[in-house]
C-alpha cells in the first residue's frame, strides 16, 4: 500500500498540491498523509482532507516548547492556526536553528531574518522517520517544505518537488543536484534555468501547475461568453487590468491605471475592466461607458478568457491569462518584477515605462504579441501523478 507524505504551507503552496492529493486519496489502497503547515491546515480541512500538524507528530521536546511559547507571545493570534500548532512550528524550527548555530547564533539570525532563518531539517527527518512514507511530495517553498525534501533525500526516500511559479529565489536550493528526486515545473523556461544551474535533464519535468488545471475546463469559453453577455460587453474590446498593491510605492498602481485609462480614447469600443487585488484598497475610477469593475464575485477564469488583453505588474493572474492564450502586457517597473519576470520569461510584452504601456496595449489588441510557449492548462495533475508513479 503506497504511502505518500505531502508537506505544504498555506496559500499557493497547498493549492498547487491539493489536486494531486485529492486524486491520490481516491486511489484504492493508497495512503496520503498531509502535513499541513500554518494556514494550510484550514485550506485542507475546507476541502475535506484530513491533515496533521507538527503538534500531532513526535517532534517536540522541552526545548522546542520553551522556544515556541516564547516566540508565540510576540505573534498576533491567527484564527486559522491553533496556538498549539504555532508553538510546535516555531518551537521546533527555532530549536533546529539552535542546533545548527548555537544559542547566540540562533538569536542573532532570528533577530536579523525572522522566520527566514528557519530550516527545520532535524524536525522533518524525525517526522519522516516516524511516518515511514514511500514518497515525499512538497513544493519549492523555503523553510519546512525545503527541509522536508532535504530530509527525504537524507533518508533515502524518493521525493517530488512541485514548483508553483518561477522558482527564482528558490533556485538556490531547487537548483541543487539531489534536492528532490524529481522537480515538476510549470513551464519550459523554468526547466531551462534549472538545467543551466546544474540539474540533470531527467530530474526536471515540465508538468504545469495543478492549481491551473481548472483553466482547462472545456466549458470555459461558454462561461466567458455568458459573462460577456451578462455584463453587456458584447462588441467591446476588453482590456483587463489586474491591479495589486505596491508597498514601496503605493501610488504606482494608480499611475499604471491612469496610463491605461489614457489608451481608451483611441477606440470607443475599448473597455477597461478593473479588477483590484483584494488587498489593493482604493477608490476605483467610476464605472462608465469605457470603464467597468470586476470583483472577486466574478468568475476570474471566465473574465480572463473573454479579455482581449490582460495587463498586470506581477500578479499570478498574468500567468493564468497566458495559459489561456490571452496576450499579456506587464508594467515592469514594480519592485516585485525581478521575482515574477513575465516579460523576461517570454510570457508577456513588458512595458519598461508608463509611456510604453499604450503601444504594448495597441500591439496586443492588433494581435502583434505572439502566444507564449506554455503547456495548455488541464493536464498538470495527471502529469505530476505520472512523475510520482514513476518513482514508486
Amino acid at each position: 500500500m503506497p504511502h505518500v507524505l505531502a508537506v505544504a504551507y498555506g496559500g499557493g503552496h497547498i493549492n498547487a498540491l491539493l489536486p494531486v492529493i485529492e486524486r491520490l486519496r481516491a486511489r484504492p489502497g493508497w495512503r496520503v498523509t498531509v502535513l499541513a503547515l500554518t494556514t494550510a491546515a484550514a485550506t485542507g480541512v475546507a476541502r475535506g482532507i484530513p491533515v496533521v500538524g507538527l503538534r500531532d507528530l513526535p517532534v517536540e521536546d522541552a526545548d522546542s516548547r520553551r522556544h515556541g511559547q516564547r516566540l508565540v507571545e510576540g505573534l498576533a493570534a491567527n484564527p486559522l492556526v491553533p496556538e498549539a500548532e504555532s508553538i510546535a512550528y516555531l518551537g521546533c524550527s527555532y530549536r533546529d536553528l539552535v542546533t545548527a548555530e548555537g544559542e547566540a547564533g540562533a538569536a542573532r539570525r532570528y533577530a536579523a531574518e525572522g522566520r527566514a532563518a528557519f530550516l527545520p531539517r532535524p524536525t522533518l527527518v524525525r517526522a519522516i522517520t516516524h511516518l515511514h512514507p514511500d514518497l515525499v511530495l512538497s513544493t519549492s517553498a523555503p523553510r519546512a517544505e525545503r527541509a522536508a525534501l532535504e530530509a527525504a533525500g537524507s533518508l533515502g526516500v524518493p521525493s517530488v518537488c512541485v514548483v508553483d511559479l518561477f522558482a527564482l529565489s528558490e533556485e538556490a536550493w531547487v537548483g541543487q543536484v539531489g534536492f528532490a528526486t524529481r522537480v515538476c515545473v510549470p513551464m519550459p523556461g523554468v526547466r531551462d534555468r534549472l538545467l543551466t544551474v546544474g540539474r540533470r535533464p531527467e530530474e526536471v519535468v515540465v508538468t504545469g501547475n495543478p492549481v491551473f488545471d481548472r483553466l482547462g475546463d472545456p466549458d470555459l469559453r461558454l462561461r466567458a461568453e455568458a459573462l460577456r453577455q451578462a455584463r453587456g460587453w458584447s462588441g467591446r474590446r476588453v482590456i483587463l487590468w489586474a491591479s495589486q498593491p505596491e508597498s514601496q510605492d503605493p501610488q504606482l498602481p494608480r499611475r499604471v491605471e491612469a496610463a491605461l485609462l489614457a489608451t481608451l480614447a483611441a477606440d470607443p469600443t475599448r473597455l477597461l475592466v478593473i479588477r483590484p487585488h483584494p488587498n489593493d484598497q482604493y477608490d476605483l475610477p467610476p464605472e462608465g461607458p469605457q470603464v467597468a469593475h470586476s470583483t472577486r464575485a466574478d468568475d476570474l477564469a471566465a473574465t480572463l478568457a473573454l479579455a482581449e488583453v490582460v495587463v498586470t505588474m506581477t500578479s499570478t493572474v498574468g500567468l493564468e491569462a497566458a495559459l489561456l492564450g490571452r496576450p499579456v502586457v506587464t508594467f515592469d517597473g514594480s519592485a516585485n518584477t525581478p521575482f515574477a519576470p513575465y516579460s523576461r520569461m517570454g510570457i508577456s510584452r513588458g512595458a519598461a515605462t508608463l509611456d510604453d504601456l499604450a503601444p504594448a496595449v495597441d500591439d496586443a489588441l492588433a494581435g502583434r504579441i505572439p502566444a507564449p510557449n506554455l503547456p495548455p492548462p488541464g493536464g498538470a495533475t495527471d502529469a505530476v501523478l505520472r512523475v510520482l508513479d514513476g518513482l514508486l
Partner: protein, 92 residues
C-alpha cells in the same frame, strides 16, 4: 603547499550502513541497497545525527563555528561510527 578544504566525510555503521556528512547535512548512501531493517537503522542514525548539538568551542574560539572536520569527529564518537573516507576540494 596546496590548500584544500574538507567537503564530505563518509562513515560506516554496523550492518554495512554508509552515511555521508557535508555542509548540507547527513545522507544515507545507496539506500536502495539496504534491506528493510538496515534502512530503518540507517534512518534512525540520520535522525540522531541531525539532532546533535555541538557544544561551542572554548574561549577564545567560542564565536567560531565548528568545522566539518570537528563536527565529524564529535559525531563519530557520539554515534559510534567509523570514519572511512574524506573528500576534499582543492583551493589552489
Amino acid at each position: 603547499m596546496k590548500k584544500r578544504t574538507l567537503t564530505m566525510v563518509e562513515f560506516e555503521a554496523a550492518g554495512d550502513i554508509l552515511l555521508e556528512f557535508d555542509d548540507d547535512g547527513w545522507r544515507i548512501q545507496k539506500p536502495r541497497n539496504l534491506g528493510v531493517k538496515a534502512l530503518a537503522a540507517a534512518r534512525a542514525l540520520v535522525e540522531k545525527a541531525e539532532a546533535i548539538k555541538y557544544a561551542p568551542l572554548p574561549p577564545p574560539n567560542h564565536d567560531r563555528e565548528l568545522t566539518l572536520e570537528e563536527k565529524s569527529v564529535i559525531a563519530a564518537k557520539v554515534l559510534k561510527l567509523r570514519l572511512t573516507r574524506r573528500s576534499f576540494r582543492n583551493d589552489g
